[in-house]
Symmetry: C2
């Protein structure tokens, strides 16, 4: 094996193929694209990654996840919301929070995170190909870098990680000021006094939470009768309770019939005849795959009407050497799962042995308070007639809960009475998206509720909730055994 | 089995003993005492817990862990320290932070946490016996409740959970204003401009961090050449670096020869002849078991010269029906381990089958930044000639690290190259004491580094550091295998 040019040696069969510019070209530099490129590069491959100069990191970094989570952190801090339990309900770090207070932090984080990604790509000797890519044929891609002449690159394998954009209903006149979509909302020029959020999905509810925390009067309009119905029902009820406490109004089972723009506000008319005046209307009505300009037909591929590309269990499209990963393949369209898809697709494309994607995929929702879970919900277990016991811990009973001023948080364990295995872990409140991984590790490594009972947790932490909830579940099961034998 | 008076039925042999007022009396209501009492009560026992009205929750709640961690949270928030990376280094929520700003929060949390404990004890039908306890004989305890006449209670089993107080060198004149111990420091009337901390143990370093963050010029004097030497050396070095950045001076291998109180300050003279003027001198020179007034001799027990009581692996003292748990038995003297000791001692006393204490006990140190680890350090593994590979993740490369403004945090995994098992998990930075439990769960449930590689973590979280560090370790091991076969 040649030590100097390891990639060649480890490329194996690739030496039989025609010589391409790259072993792998990745279209899109969002979470799934980055992880795909890095994984292939670590296997010694020559990798190129295509994206526009102003879109390094994809939607995730530039208009989606990262700005929204940064905004959320700034909102929590500047409103003092999490501290009100301790310092009184009128407490605020800043009396008048302006968009520039919020935007400063967001721009800072985006700039740094973009740097980190550039650095990671460079360190792994991945070529950054600046521009937008369009298939010329199944192994070649035109790169439009904005200059007069396009260039062309060729690749043995291609991974499409083109992402999505907000779907914009054609009947709505978006102006990016009064009527915005979920990508545009981070560029608002002022914190609106009132807002209608159309669509109670994850993104809609995350922004509804943030603006409610900022003092905006928020009305959520949702076509269906429920929201976030893949989550634990009790936790969704708690979220609704807390949002109503921040003056949010919910209109379930309702649809927007029309939105009229007026001088300084918009008038929303619902199909039921209700009218709502709001400074801002935000549509959060699903997302559309960004595949229109990829020249898919030149590669022998098609997308569905939502712009999505179909893949098999190895993330391979209908064309064997072309893969697709991330939001562009649809559900669950979370940065976390997309990254794993990227890594697995790259390994498969490079002929590395791959395992299936881990079945325990956590869901994290950055509402205020935040929600995270892994495994089954009570509803799913009941529907499948799987017995379970519930163990609950409330943050307000934990020293750490008191210290951080979280009196509403809770952790719920669903435990199998047969073997003590954890069937589901549901967390609501401070740090939910972090501490859910403790339960996930127990589930993933084959532990039981007994592990949690015997474990020593740092004091004072929120993680202690696991022990409290485990004891609660085991005490209930013991009481049943006493009666039931 | 009698359903109405279950405790009798489940007491088993206890019916042969003389009738006592209680099945179990616990002396002290700190973390270990509470958990002992609750565990016994859940087994159907009649339990009494003895403590002074103003000491419910023990030192932990009233002068130790909880006030200190609450103070820390207030310091972090009010100084804006964690936000400076985002808003600039002169950023502060409050320009002049007063002791009353800090104390308000602490008093609030103490009051609530005391309520929670009272409630938990009441809900579990545990009798609160108000006063201080003193053995009359091995099964009887005098209760001095402050009134003229003492009362006496009897118990089949006794658990001593009397805790500790700061050791006060006899040569030092403590005045609780200028010269204080670590319990007195939370009652300071003003934030000192300068401070000498004598002793670089956990408590000393936690307070040194907090006051440094508040802008106090801190000098740490430590007799030994190193500090926190049970921790990862790289992390302790990082801590020192960060504290020096907050103007902390370290004097290792030095001792205080004398402390003179002057009008508004104290003059510390070190044995090396160096002199230090400081508004406040805090001694943090170990802790002493609170056993002087327990009447141990009446129970047939003795304490060592540091007031500690010796126990066996079941936390039994030399007298078979008397147990001791928590700080009063010495190392590690952490609330987290003490709670587990309490539970295990109660189970053993009640004849329940008990397991040994889990060997994976995490250490959490609430310095700024915080430190937590579980398992072995590099030094320990090297000393025992155990091969390991290191996997590192830096917070600044994680989106969440950027969002929360933590550019210094890191997670280090020590992985066995033989079987991929985790040998140690070391975390430095935001949330260290929480996320260490993810690695602890993997270790405790028999998982390997492969689990972490295949796991999907919520994005953006600090927990993602596990995946990054795991990939780092595995890539290094793969490179070695390539060369070494």
């Amino acid at each position: 094996m040649c030590e100097k040019c390891r990639w060649r040696a480890s490329s194996g069969l690739a030496t039989l193929s025609p010589v391409y510019d790259y072993d792998l070209v990745v279209l899109g530099s969002g979470p799934s694209g980055q992880k795909a490129a890095i994984a292939a590069s670590k296997l010694g491959k020559r990798v190129g990654i295509v994206d526009r100069r102003d879109m390094i990191g994809g939607v995730c970094i530039n208009t989606g996840t990262v700005p929204s989570k940064t905004l959320r952190e700034a909102v929590l801090y500047l409103t003092g919301l999490s501290q009100r339990d301790l310092y009184g309900s009128s407490y605020r770090v800043k009396d008048e929070i302006t968009v520039s207070d919020l935007a400063a932090r967001t721009q800072h984080v985006i700039a740094r995170q973009t740097d980190v990604i550039r650095n990671q790509l460079a360190r792994n000797h991945i070529s950054m190909i600046t521009g937008t890519g369009r298939f010329a044929d199944p192994h070649s891609i035109w790169i439009d870098g904005g200059s007069a002449r396009e260039t062309k690159v060729s690749a043995d394998k291609v991974i499409i990680a083109a992402g999505t954009r907000p779907a914009r209903p054609s009947s709505v006149e978006f102006d990016d000021r009064t009527i915005v979509d979920s990508d545009g909302v981070i560029n608002l020029q002022a914190v609106p006094r009132s807002m209608v959020v159309v669509g109670a999905g994850v993104i809609g509810m995350e922004y509804a939470s943030m603006f409610a925390a900022l003092g905006t009067k928020v009305t959520v309009v949702e076509r269906r009768e429920r929201m976030l119905d893949f989550c634990d029902e009790e936790i969704v009820e708690s979220l609704k309770y807390h949002l109503r406490d921040l003056s949010v109004t919910f209109r379930f089972g309702e649809e927007v019939a029309s939105v009229e723009r007026h001088q300084t506000a918009a008038l929303c008319v619902l199909k039921s005849g209700k009218k709502i005046v709001a400074d801002t209307v935000m549509y959060s009505a699903g997302r559309q795959g960004q595949t229109d300009d990829l020249g898919l037909e030149a590669a022998g591929l098609t997308a569905d009407k939502r712009g999505r590309i179909a893949v098999d269990e190895h993330f391979r499209t209908a064309v064997e050497h072309i893969y697709a990963v991330g939001d562009v393949i649809g559900f669950p369209a979370l940065a976390s799962t997309s990254m794993e898809q990227g890594r697995l697709a790259a390994h498969h494309a490079c002929g590395e042995p791959t395992r299936d994607m881990h079945e325990l995929q956590p869901i994290g929702i950055y509402t205020i308070p935040e929600i995270s879970f892994v495994g089954a919900t009570e509803d799913v277990l009941t529907d499948s007639a799987t017995p379970f016991e519930v163990g609950i811990a409330r943050y307000r009973e934990l020293a750490r809960g008191q210290i951080v001023g979280d009196s509403y948080g809770m952790l719920k364990l669903l435990v199998s009475p047969d073997d003590g295995k954890l069937l589901g872990v549901h967390v609501f409140g401070t740090g939910a998206t972090e501490i859910v991984h403790i339960g996930q590790a127990v589930m993933g490594c084959g532990g039981t509720v007994e592990y949690l009972i015997d474990t020593v947790f740092n004091y004072p932490t929120l993680s202690e909730a696991y022990k409290v909830a485990a004891l609660d579940a085991v005490n209930k099961m013991r009481n049943i055994t006493r009666i039931d034998g």
